[in-house]
Amino acid sequence: MRAANEVDFWRGFALVTIFLNHIPGLTFERVTFHNAALSDSAELFVFLAGWAMRLLVQGSASKLSPAALVVRLGGRALSLYAAQAVLTELAIAMLAACSILLDAPFLLDWHNASAVFLDPIRAHIGLVTLTYQLGYFNILPLYVVLTFMAPGIALIFRYAPYLLLPLSLAAYFAVLITGFNLPTWPVEGTWFFNPFAWQILYVLGFLFAGRDGLGGWARRNRKLLRMLALPVAIIGVPFALLDYAPDPISLPEPKLLFMFDKTYLSPVPLLSSLALVALFGGLFPRIMQHVQSLARFFAMLGRNSLNVFCIGSLLSLGGQIFRFAFGGRVATDAILVILGIGIMGWVAWVSEWRNQLQARRGEAAVSLPASASSAG
C-alpha cells in the first residue's frame, strides 16, 4: 500500500463529489464545487486518470516492449470494460428489485434503464457495445474508451512525444468544429461525454504528470500559472452561480468553441478545470498537515478508485431510491451522505486488505521454493 499522496487524495475527493452530484436534489449536492465553477468532478477525474496513466507508463511499464505495453494497457482497458458491464447490470438489478419491493414500476425508467425491460433484445446489444448507457453511469463508458485509446497514446508518446499534444488538439478541435459525436442505440441520441473531445483532458493529465516537457514547464512556472488561473477561476464563479450559458444565436461558427458545453468539453470548461488544478494542485501537504485523517481517508479512496467509483455509483442510485421512499429532508440526506461515504471508505479498506493478503500470498509463494531448496 503506497503512502497518501496528492493524486490519490484528489481522486478520492473527485469520487466523493461524483457520489454527491449524482443524487439529484440532495441537500449537500449544493455545496459541491460545480455550483461555483464552470467544471466539475468529472473533469478532475479524467485529468487524474491521464495523470495516473503517465505514472504507470513511466514507472512499471517503462521497460516493456511496445507489444507488451499494448497488452498491459489493453488489459487494463478490458478490466474497466468488465467493471462497466458488471456495474450496469447491478444497477439494472437494483432498479428491478426496488420496483418490485416498493411496487414502483416507474423505477424501471430511471437512469434511462427502461430499454432493458421494454426492448431487451436491442438493449443488450447496446450494453455490450457501450451504445446504450444508463444516465449518471456515463463517466465509466467514457473512461473505458479513453483507456482503450491509452495504448495508442503511450506508443505515440514513446516514439514521437512532440506529436501527442498536436494530434490530441487536432482531434479535439475537429470535433468542436464538426459537432461529431458517437450515437447511442437503441435509445436515440448521442454520448453524454463525447470521448473524442474529452481525450484532450486525459492527454493533458498525461502530459502534465511528467517532469519533462509540458509537465516540467508547468512545474517551473507554477507561480505564473497560479496567477493566470486565479482570474479564470474567479470569473467562473458568478457564471456558475447564475447558471449562465452563452446564447448560441449571437456566437460565430463554430459555436461549440464558445459555449460552456459539457458534452463536448468546450474550451471554457476545459480552461476552468485546468485553472482549478493549477490553483489547488500542490495543496496536499498543507491539507495533510492540518486535517491528516481526512487527507488519509480521501487518499485511501483514491488508491482504490475503480472499486470506490463502482460502489459510489450504486450508492448514488440507492440514495435516489432512498429519497423517493423516505423523502428529501436535510436529516435523512445527512444520514444518506454519512452512510454513503462510510461505505465507500469500507470498500476501499477491504480492497486494501485484500491486496495485502494477495501480496502476502505472493511473498509466501516466492519464499517457499527458496526455503525448500535451502533445506535440501
Binding site: 439529484p24 436534489g25 414500476p105 416507474f106 424501471l108 425508467d109 430511471w110 437512469h111 434511462n112 434503464a113 427502461s114 430499454a115 421494454l118 426492448d119 436491442r122 444516465g135 459537432g179 459525436n181 437503441p186 435509445v187 436515440e188 441520441g189 448521442t190 453524454f192 447558471d243 450559458a245 446564447d247 448560441p248 444565436i249 459555436k255 461549440l256 459555449m259 460552456f260 458545453d261 459539457k262 458534452t263 463536448y264 435516489q320 429519497r323 423517493f324 423523502g327 428529501g328
Partner: protein
C-alpha cells in the same frame, strides 16, 4: 399576414378515444419562431427532449414513440411543410440533466421549437420544487433569448400519486411557470385525469398503471400536435391563455 391569406390547416381532430375538453388541454400562445418558419415555407425542426415516455425505440408491442407520431400528425395537418422531430428523450431523467443536454442539442441540432417533457422524475426523486423551478425557468429564458419557441409537456396523471404532495407541487410549479412565461403548456395531467374519471374502461397505461400503452402514446402525441397547431394558427381567433 401571410398565414391568414393562405389556406389555414385545421388543428388535427382528437380521436374519439383521446377526446377531452379544450380547457383540459392547452391554451394557444404565440409561437413566433414556429409561425415565421412555416410562413416562410422553411423546414421546421422540433427537438423532443425530457424524461420518460419519450421512448425512441419500438417496444415489444410495436409501440411508436410519441415524437414519431407527432411528426406524422403535424405533417398530415401542415401539408407541404417539412417537419423534422429530433427525439432526444431519455427515460428517467431529471430537469437539471435535460437542461444541460438542451444546451448541447440546441447548438448541434438548431431546433425551432423545443418540446420539453418535464417534472415526473424530479417529483419522484424529491428534487426541491424551488430548485426545479429555477432550472426550468432559466432554461426557458435561455431558449427564448435564442429565438427558440418552447412548449412544456406536463406530467402524466398517475392515480397512485393523485394525493402525493410532492408530485402535485411539481405539477403546480410547471403550470405556474408556463403561465408566467406565456409559453405553450400541454396539460397532460388534466387530460389524462379527465379520461381516467370519465372513461375508466379505456386505460391509457399498461397494466403497471404507469407506463403508457399504445393509446396513451397516441393521445399524448395528439395533444401536443393539436396544441402546437392551435397556437400557430388559431391564436387570432382565441385569446392567449393566461
Amino acid at each position: 399576414m401571410a398565414l391568414a391569406q393562405t389556406q389555414e390547416p385545421a388543428p388535427p381532430p382528437l380521436s374519439p378515444a383521446c377526446d377531452v375538453p379544450a380547457s383540459d388541454l392547452s391554451s394557444p400562445v404565440p409561437m413566433p419562431n414556429v409561425s415565421a418558419r412555416l410562413q416562410q415555407m422553411k423546414p421546421l425542426r422540433i427537438l423532443a427532449i425530457g424524461s420518460s415516455s419519450d421512448l425512441a425505440y419500438g417496444a415489444p408491442s410495436g409501440i411508436k414513440s410519441y415524437p414519431m407520431r407527432i411528426e406524422s400528425l403535424l405533417e398530415t395537418s401542415l401539408k407541404g411543410s417539412d417537419i423534422d422531430v429530433i427525439n432526444r428523450g431519455l427515460p428517467g431523467e431529471v430537469a437539471s440533466t435535460s437542461a444541460e443536454r438542451i444546451k448541447s442539442e440546441v447548438v448541434t441540432e438548431m431546433p425551432d421549437l423545443v418540446l420539453w417533457q418535464v417534472g415526473m422524475n424530479d417529483a419522484l426523486s424529491r428534487v426541491d420544487p424551488n430548485e426545479f423551478e429555477q432550472t426550468v425557468r432559466s432554461t426557458i429564458g435561455w431558449l427564448r433569448d435564442n429565438h427558440i419557441d418552447v412548449a412544456l409537456v406536463g406530467m402524466q396523471y398517475v392515480p397512485r400519486f393523485a394525493k402525493d404532495a410532492a408530485y402535485y407541487e411539481i405539477h403546480d410549479r410547471i403550470r405556474r411557470i408556463a403561465e408566467d412565461t406565456g409559453i405553450l403548456y400541454v396539460r397532460r395531467y388534466d387530460a389524462m385525469r379527465f379520461i381516467a374519471k370519465t372513461r375508466a374502461n379505456q386505460p391509457l397505461m399498461m397494466s403497471d398503471q404507469f407506463h403508457l400503452n399504445d393509446l396513451g402514446y397516441q393521445c399524448m402525441a395528439e395533444y401536443v400536435a393539436r396544441a402546437v397547431i392551435a397556437s400557430v394558427y388559431l391564436r387570432k381567433f382565441r385569446p392567449a391563455g393566461k
